[in-house]
Symmetry: C2
Subunit: 761 residues, 2 copies
């Protein structure tokens, strides 16, 4: 996957800013978590570091790593891992490869055909991306994975086609109102609108027997701009590959949920693997989709469902009938994670972890190599600092993950294998997954919100020479509605978006409770080559961060984070912004509950009034909604009390911190500060419960999860929020108690940390 999957919704809310730079003035405010003295040293090291990353090296890494297709199990995947290993070693890091064995299906037979009643083929989809002569790697056809969705179940089906828009639950509600069922049908859904694995899952829940997913030009083809090779967008026959495993159930190898896929791990039989789809799925281009969609009659699709093809979008069912065939080689393959360390000099057992995957669907220049190359340059920069005498207090670990594309395989299996160690040692995990031109996108744990704001203020946007923070703040001001602009101007920190899923932070954050961040630049360079053979060096160097200055910026940003977390006397966790966010979530949940009551009550009333009978057009099929029971009032008091407890503790911690910072922050040098750090490291773990979320115990974090029906997008306080959304009122009540308990525990931990910090001086 890549950053498309990340919910890095950030709203910078800030005060005016000092000029970017690292001039170390005598009266300068020390960095958070540093004494005046250690802050001065840190600033000097960071300034040295930021001079090292070199755009031309980032370019050269990309050229190397994207030179051939490098998916899991391919020859070049292994070569890349070995090359990365050698590079990390060359830069002075202590590196090794850790290998897992995972299920890696690849296509044996694929067919999508339009057939008539006798079964005769009227149109056969190409299912192939043509070579583009300007693009020198597009002809590596022998090594390219065919276009397919990994972890689709095998199947060979013929049935009438139904167009289901994005194929999310709301779309099926609309179909129901139109009297259209997908039972026994093959559905065709557009990419976007959800993580792709949601589409076959929801289709199967509604009785469909097959699923096609197509790239509509409206989303990333000619509607958005010129298509490749004239421009960056998806050409007519371009296809988005991708995993369709039910990842919101659990991430990683489908055969080893919860445990590392080591040589001798206990494995499920393939038929028992719950994340493999229930119905066969294939992705297709808009060139292949157009005749299929044009074969449909039935009602015209609702306004918002109409895409960019030059046809009327009808829903069906049929009369077009589709033959869909997917048969895979259900093979095992190795995933090769490259792990590289710089040992800590003071707290070697406190680990700051950085990761970006290295496997691609094909040549994968943008996804993931643009991020991987920047991270490699980060490692080189830190290696150089070490040679110059820099000694980070904590252990820094760089991870180049394999098998992210199929389902976060490399990261998940590594996390599952090392879960106990991570529980003890992991301070934070910082992820990236590709990079581009534009704004610094950030998402993550709210205990690090202030920390990332500090970093964003200290790194420079290459195009405007403003700080990355300032540029994003100014954009946020411009984009906000009138009544929100002042708030953005006045808040000291940007709001961090919560993390859902779509990249390798998921096992760290949501399975073992390591405070996590996701970072990457983007927003100016659009495109439509995602997961296609055209995501390659030619495309990237013509249409993305063509001079790699944003590659350098990402290296500077990531390395700044690693250094500051690695060097801080007191870890720069902070709970004021966190507490504010918790209050917001609780308020949202109350509002959601009220909104559902109001909506159901209103709809019931309208049914009684005869509204739906009155507005039904007798020449169309319009199924009126059914009356529903009005949701009960819910008891949110435990959550409200717990959020208040967090706010209270956060204020205490802030007071203790101000005190500790007085007089040059000498207190931060006290030996007892280690105990405070210990508590801070544990702060994210408090949200992990052994039972995890209802029906998906692998997801154990009670604040953040990918939505069960969104896949990428986060659901915060998911036990409560999704229970309400799914009208599971009793379960929502249970969730309130579970989440409140976590927050109460967190409040105690923060209070404890505040007391220890106050005692340190």
């Amino acid at each position: 996957m890549n950053r498309r999957g990340l919910v890095a919704i950030i709203v910078f809310l800030g005060i005016s800013l000092a000029p970017v730079g690292t001039h170390v003035a005598a009266d300068e405010q020390p960095l958070a978590g540093f004494s005046a003295e250690s802050s001065r040293a840190e600033r000097q090291w960071e300034e040295k570091m930021r001079a090292i990353p070199d755009p031309d090296r980032v370019r050269a890494y990309m050229k190397q790593l994207s030179a051939r297709p490098h998916h899991v199990g391919s020859k070049y995947d292994k070569e890349n891992a070995d090359w990365l290993l050698a590079k990390f070693k060359e830069f002075g890091l202590d590196a090794h490869i850790e290998t897992f064995d995972v299920l890696m299906p690849t296509p044996k037979a694929r067919a999508v055909e339009l057939v008539d009643d006798s079964g005769a083929v009227k149109f056969a989809a190409k299912l192939e991306e043509p070579v583009v002569k300007e693009d020198p790697t597009s002809d590596q056809t022998a090594e390219q994975l065919p276009t397919y969705n990994s972890y689709s179940i095998d199947g060979d089906k013929t049935a009438p086609l139904v167009y289901v828009n994005f194929g999310v639950p709301a779309d099926y509600e609309q179909l129901e109102r139109m009297g259209i069922s997908v039972k026994g049908a093959i559905v065709i859904a557009r990419y976007y609108g959800s993580w792709r694995g949601i589409k076959p899952k929801v289709a199967a829940e509604h009785g469909a027997i097959g699923c096609l997913i197509f790239s509509d030009p409206h989303e990333d083809g000619y509607t958005q701009g010129d298509v490749f090779p004239a421009g960056p967008y998806r050409p007519r026959d371009g296809v988005q590959r991708g995993s369709v495993a039910d990842m919101p159930l659990y991430a990683g190898d489908p055969l080893t949920p919860g445990v590392g896929a080591t040589k001798n791990a206990k494995r499920l039989a393939i038929k028992d693997a719950q994340t493999i789809t229930k119905i066969p799925v294939l992705p297709i281009s808009y060139g292949d989709a157009e005749p299929l969609l044009a074969s449909l009659k039935g009602p015209i699709a609702p306004q918002a469902w109409r895409g960019g093809l030059g046809i009327g979008y009808h829903i069906g069912p049929g009369p077009g009938r589709v033959h869909l065939k997917v048969i895979s080689n259900w093979d095992m393959a190795p995933v090769n994670d490259v792990i590289a360390k710089i040992p800590g000099s003071v707290y070697p057992d406190e680990w700051v972890i950085r990761g970006n995957h290295h496997d691609g669907w094909v040549n994968g220049a943008e996804d993931p190599i643009s991020g991987q190359s920047a991270m490699l340059e980060e490692a080189r920069a830190l290696g150089q600092l070490v040679q110059q005498g820099w000694k980070p207090k904590r252990t820094l670990i760089f991870c180049a993950w394999d098998g992210e594309e199929e389902g976060l395989l490399g990261s998940t299996e590594w996390v599952e294998t090392h879960a106990e160690e991570l529980d003890k040692h992991a301070v934070a995990y910082i992820n990236s997954d590709g990079n581009g031109r534009g704004y610094l996108g950030l998402g993550g744990s709210h205990t690090l919100e202030k920390f990332v704001n500090d970093i964003a203020r200290d790194v420079q946007d290459p195009e405007t020479k403003l700080s990355a923070w300032k540029r994003e703040q100014l954009r946020a001001i411009e984009e906000a509605p009138g009544d929100k602009k002042q708030e953005i101007r006045q808040r000291a920190d940007m709001h961090l978006g919560a993390l859902g899923s779509g990249s390798d932070f998921t096992p760290f954050l949501q399975h073992v409770g390591v405070a996590s961040l996701n970072i990457g630049y983007g927003g100016e360079d659009g495109g439509g080559i995602y997961h296609s053979i055209y995501d390659d060096f030619y495309w990237y160097t013509h249409f993305a961060d063509t001079n790699f200055v944003y590659g350098r910026a990402l290296a500077q940003t990531g390395a700044s984070m690693m250094m500051r977390l690695g060097d801080a006397d007191l870890l720069p966790f902070e709970f004021g912004d966190f507490a504010e966010t918790m209050q917001t979530y609780v308020k949202e949940l109350k509002e959601l509950s009220k909104k559902m009551q109001d909506e159901i009550r209103e709809r019931n009333r309208e049914i009684d009034e005869g509204v739906f009978a009155a507005i039904a057009d007798p020449k169309k099929t319009e199924v009126p909604p059914k009356k529903e029971e009005v949701p009960p009032y819910q008891n949110f008091a435990p959550l409200e009390n717990a959020a208040d407890a967090v706010s209270h503790s956060a204020a205490e911690y802030r007071k203790a911190l101000e005190h500790a910072n007085a007089n040059g922050g000498a207190a931060l040098a006290a030996a007892s500060i280690a105990e405070v750090n210990r508590l801070l490291i544990e702060s994210e773990r408090k949200f992990i419960t052994p039972e995890g979320l209802p029906s998906r115990p692998w997801y154990r974090h009670q604040l953040y999860a990918p939505g069960f029906y969104t896949g990428y997008a986060a659901k915060t306080m998911p036990y409560v929020r999704e229970s309400i959304e799914q009208k599971q009122w009793k379960q929502a009540d249970e969730g309130v108690v579970v989440v409140a308990k976590c927050l109460e525990d967190e409040a105690k931990l923060i209070a404890d940390a505040a007391a220890k910090l106050a005692a340190a001086h």
Copy 2:
């Protein structure tokens, strides 16, 4: 034109309703303006009337009137006028034809070509709508007007093409932000988004030298549904004809502004006619538009500008160059208005006027014959009642207008010719312009808001058997946002939309100040044959009100209005709803002024903060906005005081009315009631000022006008509102005084009427 041009935004806000029907119960509330006794008689006559209209007759009228092309100057236009005259006479009405002589340009030469730099033609537009074999009148090619926009100036230009979306002022602001000028270019604009005549006007204001207007499939082609003949929507080569005169300047014959185009009228030279366009214009199909649009490069169009063609929408300029040629025969032609009367028995000098045009662009079944046929059936029904002994108190006048399509020619010239009589005699004007299946759409003078609500409660929707009022109220409840639903349920009356322009009410309402209404059913039957050769009997009987039950409903609705206005003891004008609407308009103007201040102040601040420099993508042309002076605070007090005076008088009138209604409403029979009626008739005239609106004195109504830059859509209190929108602050101040004076005069009139009414018993 037809109902597409009418702003019939109605929001029914109502209380629960008694069953539809006209059972005359002893304790029934008398009709507004009737005594208990006269109300009983009226209900009986109306019940008789409603039984008369016959769908098969409406069908037969349509078949006759749409059998051949019948535009102004055509043989069949005159035959239709004669046929209508004969029908009115057959029904017992006193009818005649009144003829005017108008400028009626028709094409002599037309060309739209894509040319290369040497001038060689790469693509030549068809500019022709093909015969459809299923459609028996589509082959009357010898009589069909070619596809063109009437009142385009002659021209022969070659220039690069620029796509300008709908071609309204906001689109040019966006082009400016992208650094794109249309100076010296030919623009191509989509239909919709404004009245079509706005597009060449605004293009010329920005320096364009030619204008193409195309029908994008997104608006009324395949994006909306199956195209003709498989479905009702616009086929690939279908073209929307239509007038592009600058009608917001003045309506009617371009050569005779303000006076009737009688034989010996003083006429302007064609070159001095201000409403003829400044640049040549032609309408084209999407079949013809596609190669032109595909020839453009430059930036991709903003999201909202992208239409339904299967291409990327670029803006240009060029590289595609277009040769546009339009040369007309600048001939004069007769317009034949058919005028038919039923004389009043008590107040023959009080006229209730009903109109619908009879001319079409081609066969014009939907526009205008569906409305004309219903109106003719209305006239038959009333003629029958007269034979049965019914004697309306007031004179009823039915008008079948000619030349509406070119610019409200027939109605405007008639109104200008009879302006003095209308000023004295006209009670109200009720317009329709086509009809369809669905909901009763209503717009008009707010002094008649309560009246039309009463009528809508008494007519039945043919599909649901609910009252037309109830069906619309239930739809309004369903469509309103949650916080507006209760208001809709609780308000006794629907809100009437204000009238802009686009049909024959304009000269009545906006030139001479006759209280006006516009009525018609629609909303369920979509289509894309507007102003094309396919708007014919075949299309209408396959895709619209196919069994003509809504034709009957319109006849019942129109006749009910004519009868009740014609028979009332006291005219059913009411000022409570009116006063509420005036208060709303004043509030809107204050908010508009504040909003503009806030927006300009905020934008200036963002410019100072460097927002636009920060968010500019260096790889794109993005022109930052310029600082503007913040609008001054304005004095709205005169308007607020005047609106309060109206509210106060309205309350007095209501009290007097309640008193008059007591004891069976005997007071309404008093002779002195005639004086009150005189005042009520004058109530709309109070909004006419001799100087009219700034820069367009023909438009003299100070409450309602078509927007100078919208054409169809209304601007209420336009002197003030448009001055603010156009940043003419001094002029806005003047407008406040002018409108306030009108409202104060109206308040005095209402108070006077209340006093006279109170004295009547």
